[in-house]
């Protein structure tokens, strides 16, 4: 009997010839990733009583949640992490200087996200690395501390869902709209515990950035991981930057899927997720005219150069609406430098935007653009939960960079096709 991607990789990593959904396997990850929460993982790790981490080369730490530190507590966290990586010889450490950025973006740019690798991260959006054919998923702090100590974790083999994508996006429609459509259809728990495989001819045409946007958001429908079979595009991207060897793992053609869904990209239109649920999805045209106070372009979902270019194209030579703050945070310093070289940052600042240093920014309410009660933000991030951006009485709409940029221009939620 054929195996899905998840079954195959979990069988391989646990040394079994066959596994099925529901089985529990014990595996050693190829790589683990943590961000600022490494500080508390360090404390938990120390409480276990083990002196050295299981494998310093397999641990990656990238500071991004509150950088540069906005308070002395954040500063202390960072300092403790710096001391720990030094003491343990963890070389894969990205500090708050201009080598870093949002952990998932940096992890991929630096060639840690590799086909056939099993990667665990103490962040829910670790699932992003599926864009490179990795099995990657988020875990909690205690569990990460346990892996640092013993190098192993138990995982339940998930059921799998396949999503086949065909057709081409109409103008003004992007991967973000597609993943919002899918989450809207399946619901916030529609893929709970599942492995989601994206396939079909349209996937081949997608940029790596788009693939990352898709895999990044599978957690918003509860999925354990999302994955796209690596192709030449991925292999040539990894050529020269891959941090270690890898072997592509593919699903068998006769694997069993709990569900198979098909989407025709030409039928997708610009969408938003309304407050306070990611699956609360509506066409942009149905919420057109909702006044906004803030627009945010950035995060691990949509902070890449492709996203900034889309915004710059729409905003070039124009001014954002009075009364709107547009905050743009490139996902990494690599993206920042690229945008700087291309003149993208200049165009954005000219239009009235604020460019903040790469990191998570206001995405989970830490700093750099927190909302006041009653304020509305349209954001390219991945969550619009109540209070997510720091204030329970504010509202967050999620959309593509194009929809966010156009809304900033208008001062209210607007469809990007209006100005294209």
């Amino acid at each position: 009997m054929g195996m899905t991607f998840a079954e195959k990789i979990l069988a391989k990593k646990s040394g079994l010839s066959q596994v099925k959904p529901g089985d529990v396997v014990t595996v050693e990850p190829d790589r683990v990733m943590s961000h600022d929460n490494a500080a508390s993982i360090i404390k938990l790790f120390k409480s276990i009583g083990v002196e050295r981490v299981w494998n310093a080369d397999k641990i990656v730490i990238i500071l991004d949640h509150a950088v540069p530190a906005p308070t002395d507590k954040h500063a202390l966290n960072h300092k403790e992490i710096r001391e720990f990586v030094k003491e343990q010889g963890i070389k894969n450490f990205y500090d708050t200087d201009s080598d870093g950025g949002v952990c998932h973006q940096v992890f991929c740019e630096e060639g840690f996200a590799l086909p056939g690798h099993l990667i665990l991260g103490s962040d829910s959006h670790t699932c992003t690395y599926g864009a490179f054919g990795a099995f990657s998923t988020g875990i909690g702090r205690s569990e990460m501390a346990a892996i640092w100590a013993v190098g192993r974790i138990w995982l339940r083999v998930p059921e799998s869902i396949r999503i086949e994508l065909e057709g081409e996006f109409p103008q003004g429609v992007y991967a973000k709209d597609l993943i919002l459509r899918i989450i809207g259809d399946l619901g916030a728990d529609g893929a709970d515990y599942r492995s989601v495989e994206f396939s079909g001819s349209a996937v081949k045409d997608m940029s790596i950035s788009d693939r990352m946007t898709l895999c990044n958001m599978v957690i918003e429908m509860g999925a354990k991981n999302g994955v796209i079979e690596p192709d030449d595009k991925i292999l040539s991207y990894l050529d020269g930057i891959a941090k270690s060897e890898f072997e592509i793992v593919k699903a068998d053609p006769d694997a069993f899927y709990e569900r198979v869904l098909r989407y025709d990209l030409s039928k997708i239109e610009p969408l938003v997720a309304k407050p306070h649920g990611v699956d609360n999805v509506l066409p942009v045209r149905e919420v057109r005219g909702v006044r906004i106070n803030q627009a945010f372009i950035g995060t691990c979902t949509n902070g890449r150069i492709e996203d900034l270019r889309i915004a710059a194209r729409l905003l070039k030579g124009r001014r954002i609406a009075k009364g709107v703050r547009l905050i743009v945070i490139p996902a990494s310093w690599r993206v920042y430098k690229q945008a700087l070289r291309e003149g993208v940052l200049e165009i954005l600042i000219d239009s009235g935007a604020i460019i903040a240093p790469p990191g998570c920014g206001p995405c989970m309410g830490n700093h750099l653009g927190i909302l006041a009660p009653g304020e509305v933000c349209i954001s390219t991030a991945n969550r619009n939960f109540k209070g997510r951006m720091g204030n329970p009485e504010s509202e967050i709409y999620l959309a593509s960079p194009a929809t966010v940029a156009v809304s900033a221009l208008m001062g209210f939620i607007a469809d990007p096709r209006e100005v294209l």
Partner: protein, 416 residues
């Protein structure tokens, strides 16, 4: 000082008098502004109008974009107030440091009287504006009455002759001034700066010096604009401006003259600005973070001089050091981007942030952990200001950039 007050009141005013002066501009920021608004609303029972919406300005620079819910709410209070009162001089979180924005937008002229909720309002003395930092209660009085009580300060005259030689900058002179005066040496005094050195100073140099008058508790530090500064003002204001010159027989509490040709790079050590030493005497002190920016050293020229130095030395930053650059305003940021300066800082390993007060206020862009050391081009190094248990040194952008390259406090002459 007496001349400005006299011209405002149409009679001769002498130092020591308490007078109510009419205000040309009342400025609030995201810091203390909301308190003033709430007080204003309470006194006027929510129905009051400000004395003149054209003479009020609102700037956001303290923790921009909003760092937390309270800041977000405070900014919202200001935005709604601006809307309600029809305040046109409103600058949101993308504009930059208030005083600098006002200067760039042509809202400051010689002889104007300005109050604002920022202790470094007085840096506008660099263009002969009598601008002072006040608390929110004073602002409420300003909102309602359009005037405020002042004790006309006595004046001291500082004459700096000679020539500063590269890499000694106006910041080193400012630190020299602070150490000569002491932390309260100019308390309640107006300081007038003269001499060859001042004449040669650019606007940026002047701002650096005048902003540090606050650190001697001085009320204001005036400099008579030279042709370059006058041209800048006229371009920005859009009409000719009149320079004020003190009378030859004006009375000064004290006149001090210095030849500062031999001045060396200076540094202020924790935890008070007046604790000034020679940079070379502190060589080797390890730094964890370097900050270039603030209302004192956040102008284009401050970054340009650091950039030129960086190119000349031809090395990146020490990887152990976090180096943070914050332009004072959007205008400065754009120029740094266009000229490739921002890019060079980032390529060298630095962090380039959005305009604002950044690492000069608690709550943004690189607060320190206990035991860490910051070398900053800002104006204050009070204990714990930027993180409990941390140490802050103050220096010029050149000393800062040299130290960012080596990872320890470095005299900028050492790498040339």
């Amino acid at each position: 000082m007496e001349k400005i007050a006299s011209s405002k009141l149409g009679r001769e005013v002498k130092a020591g008098e308490r007078v109510w002066l009419p205000l040309d501009l009342v400025v609030i920021r995201d810091f203390a502004g909301p308190n003033a608004i709430l007080q204003f609303e309470e006194i006027t029972k929510g129905r009051g109008k400000v004395f003149d919406p054209e003479r009020i300005a609102i700037t956001f620079d303290y923790q921009v974009p909003a760092k937390d819910e309270k800041v977000a709410n405070n900014q919202k209070i200001c935005r709604e107030f601006a809307e309600r009162q029809g305040i046109k001089h409103f600058f949101d979180v993308n504009a930059g440091i208030g005083q600098h924005v006002l200067l760039e937008r042509g809202l400051v002229t010689p002889g104007s009287v300005i109050i604002g909720t920022d202790s470094h309002m007085n840096l506008l003395g660099a263009v002969e504006s009598f601008s002072v930092g006040v608390g929110n209660t004073d602002v409420v009085a300003g909102f309602i009455l359009g005037k405020l009580w002042f004790r006309i300060p006595q004046s001291v005259k500082m004459v700096f002759n000679g020539r500063l030689s590269y890499p000694v900058t106006s910041k080193d002179l400012a630190l020299f001034f602070v150490s000569e005066m002491g932390g309260d040496g100019a308390n309640y005094l107006s300081v007038e700066f003269y001499g060859e050195v001042i004449d040669s100073f650019s606007l940026a140099d002047r701002i650096t010096l005048s902003s540090m008058v606050t650190e001697t508790s001085g009320k204001i530090g005036f400099m008579v604009p030279n042709d370059e500064v006058k041209a800048f003002l006229e371009e920005r204001v859009g009409k000719s401006v009149e320079i004020i010159e003190a009378d030859p027989d004006a009375e000064y509490l004290e006149i001090r003259e210095y030849d500062v040709s031999g001045l060396e790079p200076l540094i202020s050590c924790p935890h008070v600005p007046e604790n000034v030493k020679k940079v070379r005497d502190l060589r080797g002190v390890k730094v964890d973070e370097v900050f270039i920016g603030s209302c004192t050293n956040g102008r284009y020229e401050d970054f340009k001089v650091a950039y030129d130095y960086l190119l000349r030395v031809g090395k990146g930053f020490n990887p152990r050091v976090r180096v943070i650059f914050t332009p004072s305003t959007k205008e400065v940021a754009l120029r740094l981007l266009r000229e490739g300066i921002a890019s060079a800082f980032v390529e060298a390993g630095g962090v380039f942030t959005n305009p604002g007060c950044s690492l000069c206020t608690i709550g943004h862009h690189g607060i320190l952990a206990s035991g860490e050391v910051l070398l900053s081009t800002s104006n204050r190094n009070f204990q714990g200001k930027l993180g409990r248990g941390s140490y802050v040194y103050l220096s010029s952008p050149l000393t800062a950039i040299a130290s960012a390259i080596t990872g320890e406090i470095t005299d900028p002459r050492d790498l040339l």
